[in-house]
Symmetry: D2
Subunit: 330 residues, 4 copies
C-alpha cells in the first residue's frame, strides 16, 4: 500500500479521491484544499486525514505520492515542492496557463529525476490506446489524418469556466495531446482555429462554446479536432485515424449493449456514458497502476511534464490563429 | 426482349407484373386472372394484353416464358401445360399443397426437359446468397448450426390466409428451403415444431401466428427457424450460420443509412424495409436475369421444382410434429 | 467489512476468491477445498486463512456469509449447515443433480428464514437485466418470444465435464433461469430438445457439444435456447425478446470500441470478451452488493433457492425430451 | 418517353448514358463527343444516334433535354445553346472554372426561363437528403456543426486530374454544395484550408491528395470537410450534423448486410460500395425523375445553376486561403 495525499477537492479532485479510497493498493492519508470546510468535509467522506498546511504533506516521509487536482495556478508550486521532496506526482491538466512559468519549473526540476504523471487520461483509455498500438503494428499503413471529436455533455460551472484558461487550454488540450500521441516523432507545424458560441454567456466571459482546430504536421499529417461544451446524447469521445492502407476508429462507450426496436426505429441504443468519470473509469485505474510502477521504478510515465508543456503550446497557438485570423506556424 | 405472360393478379402477381413492365429485357404480352375484371384492370396498368383463356397463352409460339402467380391449386396444372408447350416457367411457392399431386407432375414432366424456376426469392438475395458463398469458401469451417428469423410486418388478408396452406407451407417454406440451400448435400433427418397465437383469429382458421421449428440433419447440423406473422419494426429477415471456425450473419436492409442521436437514445435507425417487395427487390431482378439465362440454355435454375417438392415435405413434417407432439423423422 | 469464507477452489471458486479479495467490503477469512494442497496454495494467494474442516467455518460466529463453489454434490450439505448456522449463502449453480435431494433440503430450511443467493450471474448482468426492466416498462408490449444464444469460447476440462451433470444442467441451466426471469408469473408448459456433437469425445462421456431447446409457456410465449461448448470468436451471450410492439436485444461486450477498416473489410471489431470472468464481471460485483444488502436485511435475493430448483426441473425435462424424442409436458 | 441527347463520353458521361439507356422514360436519341471514334463506339453500345455536330442536337425540336457531361470548359457554351433552344439541361459539376464566364452566362440566360439541373448528386441521395428533412423537422434542434467526409477509392486518370480544376473545384465542390444545402438560408462567411500530398505526383501537377476545409457561417455554424483522393476500404461518404438537441449521421452503403465473426475479429463487413456509380445509383435515378418533372413544369430543380456558381466561389476561396495562409472572408 502506497501512502498518498490529495490536493484539491473540486469535481475532479473528489473523483480521484474516491478512486483512491476504493483502491486496495493506496492509502489516502491526507486531503487538502484551500477551503478548510471542504477539507474537513471530504476528509470524512474519503476517510483520510485533514491537513490545512501543504507542508505537512511534503515533509511526511511516508507519503510516497501526491495527487495535484487543485486550481491550475497552484500546480507548478506543488510540483516543485513535490519533486524536491522526492514524491511521485500526479498532476491534472493543464500544467499552468503560463508557458514562462512552466519553462522555469522545467529547468528547476531537470536534475532532480522527477517522476511526474500528467492527467492526460485519454492516453490511458483502452480504446484510444489500442489505436496507437494498431498504428505501430502498421495496421493502416502510413498515417495521413487524425480526426478527433470531443464533446462534453454539459458545461462546467461558471466559476470553473472563468478560471479555466478557456476551451483550448482546458478542454481541447486533451485532444492536442492525443494528436501528439498518434503523431509519434512527427510534430505539428501549422495550426488554424475557428470557434463559435450559440449561448451568449460564452462571449461575456471571453470563452467559446464550440471550437474546431485543424493542424498540419511536418510530415504532412492533417489533424482535425472538434469540441463542444454541450452534447445532448452524452459524452461524445471519438478518434478516427486514416492511413494509406486503412482506417481505425475508437468509438464511444455505453452502459450496456442493449438495443430497442419498435415501429418508429430500430437499433436504438442508450445515450453514451455520461461523463469522464464513467467514460474514462478504466483509464483512471490504469493511471493508478502506472503510479505504482513509477514507485517501483519499473516504467516511465506514458504522459509526462513535457507532454503537458507541448500541448499547452498548441493551445496557445490556436488562440493566436483565432486572434490573427491566420494559419499559425508552431 | 423475351415475350412473357403472367398468370394471377393477386398481391404477388401484380408485383411481378410491375417488375416485368419496368424491365427492358421482357415484353409482358399477356396477363390472365380467373377474375375477368382483374385481368381487364391490370392489362391496362401493366400495358399488357388481356386474356381470359390460358390456352391462348400456351399456344402462342412467341411466348417464351410464363409467370405463375395464380392460386396455389392451379400451379401444377399451369406448370404441366407450360412444360408441354416448351415454355420457361417461373412458379411461386408453394408448388401445391398435395405431395401426391406434385409427385404425379414430377413423373409427367421428367422427360420433357423442363426449365422451371421456383419463387424461392431468398436464394437470390445478395446477402443470404453471400453466406452460401462464404460457407463454400470455408470461411467458418464446418457448418454446425443454422438460425433463421423471418417475420412479416403484418399478416396478409383473411381470404389469403384461409387458402394459404398454413404458416409452414406458405411462409416457413422459404426458410425450409434456405436451410436446404446451406445444408448442401446434407439432409434434414429430424424435425420438431411449436406454434403459438396471441390473436384468437388464427385458431379459428386453424392457422398459427408464431412458429418455431428445430431440425437436425444427418450430419448433425442443428437448424432453428422462427416465424412471426407480425413485426412492428418491419420485415425482419436474418440468417445466422455458426461453424467450427466462425459465424456468418446476413442482416436486414434499411431504406438508408441514417442514424439519430438525442437525449433519449443513440444510433437510432429507421425500421427495416417494409416487406418482400422492397427487401427482395434485388433478388427479383436476379431471378429475371436467371430466366434469360435459362432461355439461352446458359444455366440451370438455382431454385428447382425438386426444391419446391422437398421444402413442402419439411412443412408437412412440421405439421406432423405439431399434431403428434413428437420429434418426427423425415 | 463482512467476514466471509469460500468453499471450493476450482476455476469458478478462484474467480470468486479474487473478486472477494479485491472488494473493500469483504474480508475473506477462510478458504476451504477438499484438496488440502489447493487450500494451502490459495490461502496464500487469496490472503485468507486455510481450513481443512468446514465446521470451523460454520461454527465461527464472526463469519456472516459463505461462498459455496465446491463440487455440485456438496452444495446441499453446505447449504444446510450454513442455514442452520445463520450464514448468508452464495451457492453456485446447479443446486444439485437430484431433485429429490433438493426437495428434502427445501423442507428442512423452510422455517429457518434462509438467505440464499444462487449463482445465476446473468440475472445480475446490467444488459440482460435492463431487458427485464424495459419489458416491465412495456417497451415492447406483450412478450411473445424469448431467444437466447449462449456459447462458451472453449470446453472446460474433461474431469469437469464428467461430473458436471451434462450440458443442460451445467450450462443451459443459466438460460432456463433467464427464460424464467423474463416469463415472470408465466410458466414453461412444454419443452423439446435436440443435441449434436461434432467432436466424438462428447458421445463417449454421454454429453453433448451443441444443444437447442424450444419451450412453450402457459400463456403461449415461445422460448428458444441454443448452446455451444465452443465458439471461435469469444463468449457469445445474447438475448432477444420479441413482443407485440417491438424487440429488445442484449448484445455482447468487447474489450473496447475500436474498429478497423481496410481493403478486405470494414467495421471489424475485436472478438467478444473471452469468458464469464470478463463478461459477467459487473454482474459479480452487483451480486456482492446484494449479499451486503441481504446481510442488512434490506432486500430479498434476485436469484433464490427456488429458482435453482425450477431451472433444474427444466434441465431434467430437456433430457427427457431427448430420450423419448417427444414434446414433454413440464 | 423523353427524347434526350448526351454530350461527353468520358467516365461519367458513359455512366449517364447507361442509366438513360436502361430507363424506360427516356429515349437516348443522340450521343456526341469531340472524339469522333468515341462517339461512334458508344452510339452502338448505348443504342443511340451518333452526331458530330452539336447543332444537329440543339436544332432537333423533338429533343427535349440534353445531358452535358463533356469537358468542363464546354459546359457554359452548351448550356447557352441549350437554353436558347428551350432544352431542359442536366450539367455536370463544376459549371466552369471561371467565375467571370459563369456570371456572363447567368445574365444571358436570366430572362430565358432556363430549366437547369446541376449534377450535385449528393443532394438526391436518400440518406444525405433524409438528413435535410430531419433537420427541417427540428429533430436535432438548431444546427451548430456540419462534418462531411468524402474519400474516393482511387484517384482518376492523370489526364483527368490535369484538367479537373483541382481537388476543391473537382471533388470538394460536392461537399461545399452539401454544406450550402444544410445551411439553408444561412451563408458561409469565413473559410480556411489545409492540403497535403503523400504521393509526390500531386505536387507536380499542382494538385493535392488530401484536403481539409473549415468554414464558419454568418449564424455561427461550423463546417468541416475532409477529402482524400484514395481510400483503401471503398468510397467513404459520410455526413454528420450536430445540433442543440441531437446529432444526425448519414453513413456509408454496402453491397449487402453480411458480417463475419472468427477468432481474429467480429462484425467484419464488406468494404463500402466501390464508387459513385454504385453509391449514388439511387440518386441518379431520382435526378432522372426530377428531369421528367421539370419537363412537365411540375417542380423546380433541387440543384440549380446558382448552386453551381456559389459552390465554385467557395472552392476558389479555399484556394485563396491556401495561398495566403489566412482565414478568408467569403
Amino acid at each position: 500500500m502506497i501512502d498518498i495525499a490529495l490536493f484539491g477537492l473540486g469535481r475532479i479532485g473528489i473523483m480521484h479521491g474516491k478512486n483512491l479510497m476504493r483502491n486496495k493498493d493506496f492509502n489516502l492519508k491526507y486531503v487538502y484544499d484551500i477551503d478548510k470546510n471542504l477539507t474537513k468535509k471530504y476528509s470524512k467522506i474519503l476517510k483520510a486525514g485533514s491537513v490545512n498546511n501543504p507542508n505537512i504533506i511534503f515533509k511526511d516521509k511516508k507519503i510516497k505520492a501526491v495527487f495535484i487536482a487543485s486550481t491550475t495556478n497552484t500546480h507548478i508550486k506543488f510540483i516543485l515542492e513535490g519533486v524536491k521532496n522526492k514524491k511521485i506526482i500526479f498532476c491534472e491538466k493543464p500544467l499552468d496557463l503560463s508557458i514562462k512559468k512552466i519553462n522555469k519549473c522545467k529547468k528547476k526540476i531537470k536534475n532532480l529525476n522527477p517522476k511526474i504523471q500528467l492527467g492526460f487520461n485519454r492516453r490511458y483509455d483502452p480504446g484510444h490506446n489500442n489505436l496507437k498500438k494498431q498504428l505501430l503494428k502498421n495496421k493502416i499503413g502510413k498515417l495521413e489524418k487524425i480526426i478527433i471529436t470531443s464533446r462534453d455533455p454539459a458545461p462546467p460551472t461558471i466559476s470553473y469556466l472563468k478560471s479555466s484558461g478557456g476551451i483550448f487550454r482546458d478542454m481541447m488540450i486533451h485532444d492536442f495531446d492525443l494528436c501528439r500521441l498518434y503523431l509519434g516523432n512527427d510534430e505539428v507545424n501549422e495550426i488554424h482555429a475557428f470557434t463559435s458560441s450559440f449561448v451568449p454567456f460564452y462571449k461575456k466571459i471571453k470563452d467559446h462554446e464550440l471550437a474546431v482546430v485543424t493542424m498540419k504536421s511536418k510530415k504532412g499529417v492533417i489533424c482535425v479536432i472538434t469540441n463542444s461544451r454541450h452534447c445532448s446524447f452524452g459524452y461524445d469521445q471519438r478518434v478516427e485515424l486514416f492511413g494509406k492502407k486503412g482506417m481505425l476508429i475508437s468509438g464511444n462507450k455505453k452502459e450496456n449493449s442493449t438495443e430497442l426496436f419498435n415501429s418508429n426505429q430500430t437499433n436504438s441504443q442508450k445515450p453514451f456514458l455520461n461523463f469522464f468519470i464513467e467514460r474514462y473509469n478504466d483509464a483512471y485505474n490504469i493511471q493508478l497502476k502506472e503510479l505504482i510502477s513509477l514507485h517501483k521504478n519499473k516504467t516511465k510515465s506514458r504522459s509526462t511534464f513535457e507532454d503537458g508543456y507541448l500541448a499547452l503550446k498548441l493551445a496557445n497557438a490556436a488562440y493566436n490563429s483565432l486572434k490573427l485570423k491566420k494559419t499559425i506556424k508552431v
